[in-house]
């Protein structure tokens, strides 16, 4: 068990290293002077360029450069954002909370709704409700998420004026206490609905096909000939067997929890990491962009370990060696 965990951590570490290497290679290969990219904007002063050259050893051989790059990163120094004039790391950490709130809530809602519908559809395959669900899931799956968000704004905010369009709180009102919570919740409805809607199809499809597959297994027949009720077979045996793939997908989605909502955050101007990223792209703040990317990669790598562990715990066939 310990060995397994250790191995997974080493793998995750390898992945983070790979991402750093990738970042580095991209910077080196990108058209233009890497110093300018690392400075974060196009026309840095000579002093800044000299300082950066020294910091990353850009006049040294490549391997030294890369080593410097890694060690600086591991000190938590992802460079400064010229846009905000702040260290990238602190900028990101200020915003992680908002992102986590939005995507965490929607991830949980999506898995609950999506797999419940999938369970129903898998068990009642071919019936009218299954067909309706499947059709809707098909359409949701084909929609660009940001477009769906825009459409929801168009309908519920611009036209019906039921809900706010932008941001996380109404700054002008300056709510506190309970009123603040309600305000945040109101702001969350639309972005959350969008995120849930685009994630449902994945869970729905996985759950449905997984249920159908398990229902066709030999052991279900065994239980049937013992006279066990269909309900018991389904609730106890089919469910646990069908659960495993859902857990995997949920885990992977959870891994992307920080990043998954970028586009939606942008649509709704939700003050999370996504918006940060958008600004960094549009203003060419490369340090910030790289920082966000690195953070996302690390969180994904970490969550993957957690998923593997949960999976191994659920499925007795997986051993830890």
């Amino acid at each position: 068990m310990k060995k397994y965990l250790l191995k997974r951590i080493v793998t995750a570490f390898g992945i983070v290293l790979f991402v750093i290497l990738l970042n580095y290679v991209i910077i080196r290969l990108a058209p233009g002077d890497p110093v300018r990219i690392m400075a974060g904007f196009d026309n840095p002063s000579q002093e800044l360029m000299d300082a950066l050259t020294k910091k990353y050893g850009l006049d040294q051989p490549l391997y030294v450069q890369f080593w410097r790059y890694i060690t600086t990163l591991f000190k938590g120094d992802m460079g400064d954002s010229y846009l905000y004039n702040q260290p990238v790391s602190s900028l990101i950490f200020e915003r992680v909370g908002a992102s986590l709130l939005l995507s965490g809530v929607s991830a949980v809602l999506a898995v609950l709704i999506g797999s419940t519908l999938g369970l129903y559809a898998g068990r009642h395959h071919g019936k009218a409700l299954d067909r309706t669900f499947s059709g809707v899931a098909y359409m949701l799956n084909a929609m660009p998420s940001f477009w769906l968000g825009i459409m929801l704004i168009l309908i519920f905010a611009s036209t019906l004026k039921w809900l706010p369009t932008q941001g996380m709180v109404n700054i002008r009102k300056g709510y506190t206490g309970w009123a603040y919570v309600v305000d945040v919740l109101q702001h969350m409805v639309l972005p959350c609905a969008t995120l849930v809607a685009v994630q449902i199809p994945t869970y729905f499809r996985i759950t449905k096909s997984s249920v159908m597959q398990v229902m066709a297994e030999e052991f279900v027949t065994t239980f049937r000939v013992t006279g066990m009720s269909e309900r018991k077979i389904f609730n106890k045996y089919v469910l646990k067997n069908a659960l495993l793939p859902i857990v995997t997908v949920f885990g992977i989605n959870l891994a992307y929890v920080i990043s998954g909502s970028t586009l939606i955050e942008i649509v709704f101007s939700w003050p999370g990491v996504g918006v940060l990223m958008y600004r960094s792209i549009s203003m060419r703040d490369y340090n910030l962009l790289m920082g966000v990317y690195l953070l996302i990669s690390i969180s994904v790598a970490f969550m993957m370990i957690v998923v593997d562990l949960i999976y191994a715990w659920l499925d007795p066939r997986i051993r830890y060696d």
């Binding site: 793998t11 390898g14 992945i15 790979f18 991402v19 990738l22 970042n23 991209i26 910077i27 290969l29 990108a30 058209p31 990219i37 098909y138 359409m139 799956n141 084909a142 929609m143 660009p144 940001f146 477009w147 769906l148 825009i150 459409m151 704004i153 168009l154 611009s158 066709a216 992307y256 990043s259 970028t262 586009l263 942008i266 649509v267 990223m277 958008y278 792209i281 549009s282 060419r284 490369y286 962009l289 790289m290 966000v292 990317y293 996302i296 990669s297 994904v300 790598a301 993957m304």
Partner: protein, 283 residues
């Protein structure tokens, strides 16, 4: 000759066995027609800045309205289909070819080659690809070629993983063993037996890949990372977002068409999977 006929009959059987596949192919043919005959189908020149600014659908022959610059939305959508389809198909093809070759190589030869390739696949599957694409496009420029290449070069791992599994199982099939004992060389086995027999699921996956690439391109355009010289649906949504209150038609129709084309490729992909899955056929 007889062989072609029989293969044709089998393909026809596949198409017949899945309603989804049939519908998908019909719609795809329609889209292809639109792409080819865009200039004659479009009522206006999409690049032409007309005098009707932001007029609603149905005004002055602008069936779907105009943009804030006075461009005809319908014509833009017709031309935009070219970009979407080109990017979708080219990048899915790049990813399909790379994935098939690498996966087949790794699965068939096994050993060290396999370890290296599957480790690369694993890493790629564990890093957030969309952001990688985003960064590369942001740094390297957002020309259409770049976008195609980047999407293609980052999305092959899922094909490679599939092909690897295929190659590993086909390699154990009797006909491969029998081919080797007939005296076929390894390369002949790989290209004549392994790849042709394992290709179908990858074709289905690549079809899905077209849909995903179209969505990715739209997302990039929505972030302002589209090719500025090309009309694309994603860009239309992006630009229309600012005019949501006064000109809802700019974003709405472009999005609808993305959804439509994505659904067509999903249908083909799903249909292929269905037609290929003997288990499903029985039910």
């Amino acid at each position: 000759m007889e062989k072609i006929k029989k293969v044709g009959v089998r393909l026809a059987g596949m198409v017949r066995s899945s309603m989804q596949l049939r519908m998908g192919l019909i719609f795809f043919a329609l889209v292809l027609l639109v792409v080819i005959f865009a200039p004659s189908l479009a009522p206006f020149d999409p690049y032409d800045l007309g005098d009707d600014l932001l007029v609603p659908p149905g005004t002055n022959g602008h069936w779907l309205g105009t943009t804030n610059m006075g461009q005809d939305v319908l014509s833009m959508i017709i031309y935009g289909s070219r970009a979407s389809l080109a990017i979708g198909i080219v990048s899915a093809l790049i990813s399909g070819v790379i994935g098939t070759l690498l996966g087949a190589f790794a699965g068939f030869y096994g050993g060290k080659v396999d370890k290296v390739v599957s480790e690369i696949i694993n890493i790629f599957l564990m890093i957030p690809t969309f952001f990688l694409i985003l960064i590369i496009v942001a740094l390297f420029g957002s020309s259409m070629i770049n976008v195609m290449l980047v999407i293609g070069l980052t999305s092959w791992p899922s094909n490679a993983r599939m092909m690897r599994v295929q190659a590993m199982s086909i390699k154990e099939r009797t006909f491969v063993k029998s081919a080797i004992s007939m005296g076929e060389t390894k390369r002949q086995v790989l290209f004549k037996y392994i790849i042709p027999n394992g290709l179908f699921p990858i074709i289905a996956n690549t079809t899905m890949g077209v849909a995903k690439a179209i969505l990715t391109e739209a997302s990039l355009s929505f972030l302002g990372l589209g090719d500025p010289n090309v009309i694309s649906w994603g860009q239309m949504i992006y630009e229309g977002k600012q005019y949501l209150a006064t000109g809802w038609w700019m974003s709405t129709f472009a999005g609808l068409f993305i959804m439509l084309i994505v659904m067509i490729f999903y249908m083909i992909g799903d249909g292929l999977n269905f037609a290929l899955n003997p288990k499903m056929k029985k039910i």
